[in-house]
């Protein structure tokens, strides 16, 4: 899975932050308990891996997720709920009136 490949909780946080929209290095550092140099280092790695891109906007360097990364994040959430709701439905279906706190009878 994408997030296993990130192999670092800070990189995971940066990717999730960028899922909300593009950010500059300073904006990312302001929202995470990580220094600017550390954020820059992580962003370089993420860029080398093709997960994020950056562009210059005036004096700011702005980072954004590559569309494929955003899609992978979404796919992961989709897959989580598919799995979790299947288990929910199984428990719901196998719940007999006597086993619920409130019975219909």
């Amino acid at each position: 899975m994408l997030l296993a490949a990130l192999a670092d909780p800070t990189r995971e946080s940066i990717v999730r932050l960028l899922a909300d929209g593009e950010r500059s290095v300073g904006e990312i550092a302001a929202q995470l308990p990580v220094s600017r140099p550390a954020v820059s280092k992580h962003l370089r790695l993420l860029q080398d891996s093709g997960l994020v891109s950056h562009r210059a906007e005036g004096t700011r360097n702005v980072y954004a997720l590559e569309p494929a990364t955003l899609q992978a994040l979404r796919d992961e959430v989709d897959s989580l709920w598919r799995h979790a709701l299947a288990r929910y439905a199984l428990v719901a279906t196998n719940t007999t009136p006597g086993r619920t706190k409130r019975s219909r009878g």
Binding site: S13, E57, H83, Y88, A92, K101
Partner: protein
Amino acid sequence: MIETQATTLEPVRHRIEVPLTPAEAFELFTAGIARWWPFRGHSCSGERAVDVEFEPQVGGAVVEVTRDGERHPWGTVTQWEPPNRLAMTWHPAQPVECATQLEVRFAASAAGCELHLEHGGWSARGDQAAEVLEGYRKGWAGVLGRFAAAAVENGR
């Protein structure tokens, strides 16, 4: 020419039907979550997690609890309307700044209860396009304004 991208992603949506009343379905989803949540691989504590506690009110905490009593926040309740609606911010094992948005609705159906789940809260560069265009527009207006002022100044 400035390119814009329509790359906002739609929320994840799922719908299931269960043979429970909406009230039972709501309770199973919240108070009964330990009976079905796949903690291994989908929690802060893996196999040590034993429950997720919901504080049943808007602003209430949603917290994973381990067998040793450790507590790990998952999010905050934004809507608590049993039996029909639950919504919360979602950020297990992440800072709150990285939260996405979850909404679950429970509606009575012929077979019991229809559950609609929507998990969203991500956008992409496309959402920034309008702001970038606005920024360019304001930028040029500023430049031209200064040019005009300078022209007037030089003309004196």
